[in-house]
Subunit: 255 residues, 2 copies
C-alpha cells in the first residue's frame, strides 16, 4: 500500500514541513520505498516531480525539503508497489489535461478486476490500476459534461458517484485536483485538519522537527492538510469515514 | 526569441555537460531569462521540470547540472517571452499523452494569426502560441491516425506536412518527442551533431568546461545533440536548412 498527502490553501503556502515528515516514511520510518512523487499547482501551471528511488534517498526529494515552493494545491505520494513494476511511469501523481486545465491524481489502494472500456481520450502510459482509474475518471467527466467545464457543484456530484463506482472494485483512497479544488475519496484510511487563526505550534511524528505556524502566517491564512496517517503528534486530525468524499477549496472543507 | 536543446541517444546518457552551457544562456551569456524547462524520458516515464525563474538563478536548474539523470530523449528550452506572460504554465516544454505515451514539445519562434480550430481533444492551459501549436499537432495526429499509433514512417510524413503548414504562420523551430524518436522542424535556426566512436574532447562555448567523451562512453554509444546555437567551440555542428524536418532515433539522423 502507499501513502498520500494533499494540501489545499487560500494563499500560496509551502509544504516543506509536512513533506519532510511524509518523505521520511518513504524508506526510513515506513516501508514505502518504491518511488514517490509530488505535484504543485502555481496558478494554472504545475510543477511535477516523480522519482522511482525511495524518497529518503532521492536528491529531488532533498530539493523539495529545502526549496520552499509556494502552492495552493499540492498532491504527494510515496509508493509501495502492489500492481505495476517499480518504474518512473508508474510513479504517482499522474497529470492529464482537461478543459484547458491540468488535473493531478494520486491513489492509495488496490483495484481488482477493474477493466473499464477506454474510448481513447485518455490512455494510461504505465501499468498501474491507479493510472487506469484516473484515465477512466477523466474520460467519463469529459464524456458527461462535454467540451466545457461544469460548475463545481455539478462536477463534485458526478465525481462522487464515479469514485463510489470505482471503489466497488477494491480500495480507492484518492486525491484529485485541477488547481482550484482538491477532491478526496476515502475507502479505508485518510485524515485531515484545517490550520487557521489562531495558529499554534506543530511537531512532526516522523522527524524531530517543530514549527510555530503563528510566526509564518497571517490571520487570514487557511490551510487544509489531508494525509493517510496523521503527520503531527499535537494536533487534532479528523479521520475520514469509509466511502466519504470531500472537496476542499481555499483551505476549507466544502462538503 | 527562445533557445532549444534536444538530445537523442541509443543508450541512456546524462545531459549535464550540454545543459550546463545551455542554462548559462538563460540570463548570463544571453538574455533568455523568462523561465526555462527540461523533460527527460526514462522508459515510458517523463521527468518534467519547469521554472519561471531565469535558469541561471534556479535551484532546480542547479540540481539538473549536478544530478546526472540518464535519458535517451531530452528536450530543454530557455524562454525570452514574446507571446504570453511570464508564468509557470507558459514554460516549455509542454507534455500531453497520446496513444498511451507521453509527448513532449518545445518551440522557438513566433506565430502570427495562428488560430486553428480545436475539437477539444487537447486544450492549451497557458496563453502561448507554442502550446496552441502543440495541441493542434497532437489533435491532428490523433484525428488522422485514429486510436492506434502508426508506424514511424507514416507518422513522420504526416508530421512533416503539419509542421510546414504551421510554419506558414511565422517562425516554427520545434522539437517533439514520444520517448522513442525526436522530431525536429527548423524555420530559421537549429544545429546538430552526432557524437560517436571515436569520441573526442569537447569544450563549451558558454562556460569554461570541457569533457573528454572517450572517458565516459563505450564504443557502441551514439548521441545526437540538437541546439539553436552550437554549444561547443571545437566540434563540427551541422546547420539545419530553413524548412528542414529531421527525425532522430537511437542517436542517428533517420531522414
Amino acid at each position: 500500500m502507499c501513502q498520500l498527502l494533499g494540501m489545499n490553501c487560500n494563499t500560496p503556502t509551502d509544504i516543506v514541513f509536512s513533506f519532510t515528515g511524509f518523505a521520511t516514511r518513504g524508506g526510513r520510518t515506513d516501508e514505502h520505498k518504491d518511488g514517490w512523487g509530488i505535484a504543485f499547482f502555481e496558478g494554472n501551471g504545475v510543477r511535477h516531480f516523480v522519482d522511482h528511488q525511495a524518497a529518503v534517498a532521492s536528491p529531488i526529494a532533498e530539493l523539495i525539503k529545502t526549496y520552499p515552493i509556494k502552492s495552493t494545491n499540492v498532491i504527494a505520494h510515496i509508493r509501495k508497489a502492489t500492481q505495476g513494476v517499480v518504474s518512473l511511469e508508474n510513479c504517482h501523481p499522474f497529470v492529464r489535461e482537461c478543459w484547458g486545465r491540468y488535473w493531478v491524481f494520486a491513489h492509495n489502494g488496490d483495484l481488482k478486476n477493474f477493466a473499464p472500456r477506454l474510448d481513447g481520450a485518455y490512455h494510461p502510459v504505465g501499468s498501474t490500476d491507479s493510472e487506469l482509474a484516473f484515465c477512466y475518471l477523466m474520460q467519463e467527466m469529459r464524456k458527461h459534461f462535454g467540451e466545457t467545464a461544469p460548475a463545481l457543484a455539478e462536477m463534485t456530484q458526478f465525481m462522487r458517484q464515479l469514485c463510489s463506482e470505482i471503489a466497488a472494485y477494491g480500495t480507492f483512497n484518492m486525491m484529485l485536483s485541477n488547481g482550484a479544488a482538491l477532491f478526496v475519496h476515502c475507502s479505508t484510511k485518510l485524515h485531515y485538519l484545517v490550520r487557521q487563526y489562531p495558529f499554534t505550534k506543530a511537531s512532526l511524528s516522523d522527524e524531530d522537527v517543530a514549527v510555530d505556524f503563528s510566526e509564518v502566517t497571517t490571520p487570514q491564512d487557511r490551510v487544509a492538510v489531508i494525509v493517510t496517517e496523521p503527520l503531527t503528534t499535537n494536533e487534532s486530525w479528523t479521520p475520514f469515514l469509509p466511502g466519504e468524499f470531500k472537496v476542499f477549496v481555499d483551505g476549507a472543507v466544502l462538503q
